[in-house]
Symmetry: C2
Subunit: 187 residues, 2 copies
């Protein structure tokens, strides 16, 4: 079995210390001191955990072959020693987004919001991974968990990346968003 | 909560009688006499059930706005009184399919396989609904559950529809497929 499913466990302890938590839209999470990323989908909340989010790695929904090759050529893996900073940004999109046809979502995602083009500017400094939640079940609180890892010195570049995405047409369809900034507990 | 998640429960009794079961690729299901479609995702297998498949309704992955309008204009709802015949066809696609970029899958799906165009020819006679399984978890046996309802007199047309889809380039990526033909138990 491949490792497609992961659980993000927030609570008092974990490999990542929560440096800040900002709720941009929707309900705020509970107060969290730390976060652990666990392989698999936990059915029971572990002792001490106050927030559990599941996400699954899935196929790409918008990226063309040409864009995929461009991304593969420059993207960085997770777990680089210098990448002591991370961000977990769970996002939910509106019903209006999900009711759009594929070509309409693609147009907003790339032709208008230039989501891929913006992301490419910050590679390989910012490693990223997308986890899907929407189709894990009928009552998931978010549609996506977005995860980013970078060195402390690249934190300003990451801030710029986030600002560019949030200013895009695509973000008009985001109705729940939390930004957890994290630092490796051993850093 | 909307009704996105459903469980298909096979066993000794249910609203649909199993008229035939054919395994086209992959592992065969257990012998089934009947099928029930239940709203929600069952955690426990009901007493007497020998086969449980979960599926979730999701957003469209390939259909453009123009194609969506064409489909909406002619498609039929589920549950029509005359639609006493049904088919449940669970399908799994290969890892090669899922590794393709979005434009490559779209090209195979419609430009080459003409999946939407073929389906349109049999509307409104054949009502259909697609349930997704792949992102429900990491160990689902199928990627999709496809469901069709039609009148007894439209069964030959449905056979023709199936044959056309199975002859397409898209079906080269199908590595598990079971065809259950069903008749309403009260019919």
């Amino acid at each position: 079995m491949d490792d497609r499913l992961f659980t993000f466990v927030g609570g008092a302890s974990g490999s990542w210390r929560v440096a800040s938590s900002v709720t941009l839209a929707g309900a705020p999470p509970p107060a969290l001191q730390a976060l652990e990323v666990v392989s698999g989908g936990l059915r029971e909340r572990p002792p001490g955990a106050t927030w559990c989010l599941r996400g699954i790695r899935s196929n790409e929904r918008y990226v063309t072959r040409t864009e995929k090759e461009s991304l593969l050529a420059v993207q960085a893996p997770l777990g680089r020693p210098q990448a002591t900073h991370a961000a977990l940004i769970p996002i939910r999109k509106t019903a209006a987004w999900w009711a759009l046809a594929q070509d309409e979502r693609r147009r907003i995602f790339e032709e208008n919001a230039r989501h891929i083009e913006i992301g490419l500017r910050y590679l390989p400094a910012v490693a990223r991974r997308l986890y899907h939640c929407r189709d894990l079940g009928a009552d998931e609180p978010y549609d996506f968990l977005t995860w980013f890892e970078f060195a402390a010195t690249d934190a300003p570049a990451f801030d710029t990346l986030l600002a560019a995405l949030r200013a895009s047409e695509e973000w008009a369809y985001v109705d729940a968003e939390v930004e957890l900034r994290l630092v490796r507990s051993d850093a």
